[in-house]
């Protein structure tokens, strides 16, 4: 999988591309937690996530909790169908702040 970060409108857009599984979720976690440590607002672009497992979801949960503590923005945007299915299975689709598109996430 790939992680692509870019600055946009004062936030960091982190695009996760491919399969976020146990092999790659530690990298995703570190990437997101570094941004949380810098108190950066983050929009996670999940449009190209083909697969995500419990370890990937756990990375998102951890970042979400850190953002809440910081009072910074942490939004999951354009969540792909396979990723949405797993969020629903975890009943986290009602917990995370979701946006239909990255643009919507930036202005939320």
């Amino acid at each position: 999988m790939k992680i692509e970060s870019r600055e946009l409108d004062g936030a960091v857009v982190v695009a996760l591309v491919g399969e976020v599984d146990l092999q790659h979720s530690p990298t995703v976690r570190k990437h997101l937690m570094d941004l949380m440590f810098e108190r950066r607002p983050v929009v996670v672009d999940m449009g190209l996530v083909d697969y995500i497992d419990s370890s990937g979801i756990a990375s998102l949960v951890e970042a979400y909790q850190a953002a809440r503590k910081n009072g910074t923005r942490f939004i999951l945007a354009a969540v792909s169908q396979p990723a949405m299915r797993v969020l629903q299975l975890a009943r986290l689709d009602k917990v995370f702040a979701l946006a239909d598109t990255v643009e919507a996430g930036l202005t939320a």
Binding site: E19, D21, L22, D53, S54, A58, Q65, A90
Partner: protein
């Protein structure tokens, strides 16, 4: 080599001699073609030592004769052969001492015949042997000091020094040539080994009914196995061991393998194939070489095997906990064609849910310290690996042979023919590590498709298998090394998945889904599994394994079935 500046206090003649020795030694040392250098050097030596003629004799390997390899002067006797003990050259070589003959006519060993043949008149001779340690290489012989005098003691010392350095150069050159030859031979062997590996059948998916493994003890192997799919869904197979080892065995193996591949599809039954190979081998194979071979045909639909055995190690039939040897058979192939004139008898074996193991004596004789492993030993070694998919089972057995210090003295080849009628549609072994998960997901997805399942239930089940695999990797093995077997059974209505590991057995009570109201990272996996699957249970693990997790799901709704 740099020649030292001539010291001023040496007599001019001695200084010249030292120069000659230094020059020639340097030439010998850097020479690539030492005999050519000796030929050129001979002219140089003759001129500087004021000889009218000179010859170099080298000992011919094999005959032990001294043969003239280079000449200088008015007559050319290159190729002249001196049989043992003949003349002054042999005297120098035998005594390993430089011979100075001031008047040849007085010397009883002088061979007048050569002068008579060539017209050359020999007066004095100086002959220095070339030898290194005990190895006699030849001699340098000078004839007639120019100006009518004889060679003297100083000449003797100079030629002796030159001969010693020439001898060393010869030995070096020969060793270099030997090494180059060995290197070339090694290269050829590795090419032959590559070709042999290419002759082995391709690796099939683990669920395929027949698998083989071949480990050559040396570069090339005298063993082979082959698996050929016949048109009617049946599968022909063979295992063979060629008598002897090394290149000859490898070549005969290549021939036998080609014959099998060619005949398996054309002839009716393994007996006919063996009889045909026998008549071909008996006609052309070299004396004393023979082939032990089993050929067979598996009908995967009935689980029955047609088998013909020509002198090969009896195969082992393993059904559940019982084993039996299939003893019937003929003598080896390639000995006497009449033996197979009436054909080769076949037996029919019902695999009955079990597996037939065929092997070469590399396995049964891998008993270390002279003891034989034997067919019972093979069965004993197989037992702990029975649960593994066939290719992994063969690898585990071979690894065990190695681990027990039963170093391979012989090529080791093994073939397993399984009744796959009640086997899982997917049965694969993986290293229990995160990097395997992507492959596991891919393989499970394909197996579900193959069962006729489609739609959104596939990613759900794949997620459950992934999460269960993660539990094995993270919790059962605790991050340590190990293997994980994933099995898929079922049909378009119902799927049964099993994960088997070799980790310490865990207490199922400790595996519980987390409370979803408690939002925190981790602990989600087990919840996913229970959410997706209808049944999740730990079953009693098969012998020699750690844990067996069974997950099942009924596939409802048309959206999850292929039209």
């Amino acid at each position: 080599m740099r020649v030292e500046e001539r010291p001023q206090h040496l007599p001019a003649a001695l200084a010249d001699d030292l120069d000659l020795i230094a020059e020639m030694t340097a030439d010998f040392a850097r020479s690539l073609d030492i005999e050519e250098t000796l030929r050129l050097g001979l002219a140089h030596i003759s001129t500087r030592m004021e000889a009218e003629a000179a010859s170099i004799f080298l000992m011919e390997p094999g005959t032990g004769d001294l043969v003239c390899r280079a000449c200088f002067g008015p007559t050319d006797v290159t190729g002249l052969r001196l049989v043992k003990g003949q003349g002054i050259v042999w005297r120098a070589v035998n005594r390993n001492a430089t011979e100075l003959v001031r008047d040849a006519t007085d010397d009883p060993d002088f061979a007048h015949q050569i002068d008579n043949n060539t017209g050359f008149i020999t007066r004095s001779i100086l002959c220095a042997p070339m030898a290194v340690r005990d190895e006699r290489l030849g001699a340098i012989e000078l004839f007639n000091k120019k100006g009518g005098g004889s060679f003297d003691a100083d000449d003797r010392r100079v030629l002796q020094a030159l001969a010693a350095s020439a001898a060393l150069a010869l030995i070096n050159a020969r060793q270099a040539a030997d090494m180059a030859e060995q290197k070339a031979l090694k290269h050829e062997l590795s090419l032959a080994a590559d070709i042999q590996r290419a002759m082995l059948p391709p690796q099939r998916p683990p669920e395929f009914p027949i698998h083989g493994i071949n480990l050559p003890a040396r570069g090339v192997s005298g063993d082979f196995f082959d698996v050929v799919e016949l048109g009617d869904g049946k599968i022909a197979f063979a295992i063979a061991d060629v008598s002897g080892k090394g290149m000859n065995a490898a070549l005969l193996m290549a021939k036998t393998a080609s014959l099998f591949r060619c005949l398996a599809k054309r002839l009716d039954g393994p007996g006919a194939v063996l009889a045909a190979i026998d008549s071909e081998l008996a006609e052309t194979s070299s004396a004393g070489m023979f082939v032990t071979m089993i050929a067979g045909i598996l009908d995967p639909a009935s689980g029955k095997v047609q088998l013909a055995n020509a002198g090969h190690e009896p195969p082992l039939l393993c059904c559940g906990a019982s084993q039996s040897r299939i003893d019937e058979g003929m003598p080896p192939l390639g000995i006497v064609p009449e033996l197979f004139a009436q054909g080769c008898p076949e037996s029919v074996i019902d695999l009955n849910g079990g597996a037939l193991y065929l092997f070469t004596d590399g396995l049964t004789e891998a008993g270390g310290t002279g003891s034989m492993l034997g067919a019972d030993g093979v069965a004993r070694m197989l037992a702990p690996h029975r649960i593994r998919p066939a290719p992994d089972r063969l690898r585990a057995l071979v690894a065990q042979v190695d681990e027990a210090g039963l170093a391979l003295k012989d090529d080791l080849t093994m073939l397993v023919v399984e009744d796959v009628r009640n086997q899982p549609i997917m049965n694969r072994q993986y290293q229990a590590r995160p990097a395997s998960l992507s492959q596991i997901r891919h393989d499970v997805g394909q197996a579900l498709s193959a069962l006729g399942i489609s739609g959104p239930v596939i990613p759900d089940i794949v997620l459950a298998v992934d999460e269960a695999s993660q539990n094995v990797i993270r919790h059962a093995y605790g991050g340590g090394e190990g293997e994980l077997i994933v099995q898929v059974r079922g049909d378009h209505d119902h799927v049964d998945l099993r994960l088997i590991d070799f980790a310490p057995t865990i207490d199922p009570a400790c595996v519980c889904p987390r409370d979803l109201d408690d939002i925190r990272p981790g602990g989600l996996g087990t919840h996913f599994i229970r959410e997706v699957m209808d049944e999740v249970e730990f079953l009693a693990p098969p012998p020699e394994t750690g844990n067996l997790l069974r997950m099942a799901k009924r596939i409802g709704g048309h959206e999850n079935r292929k039209p």
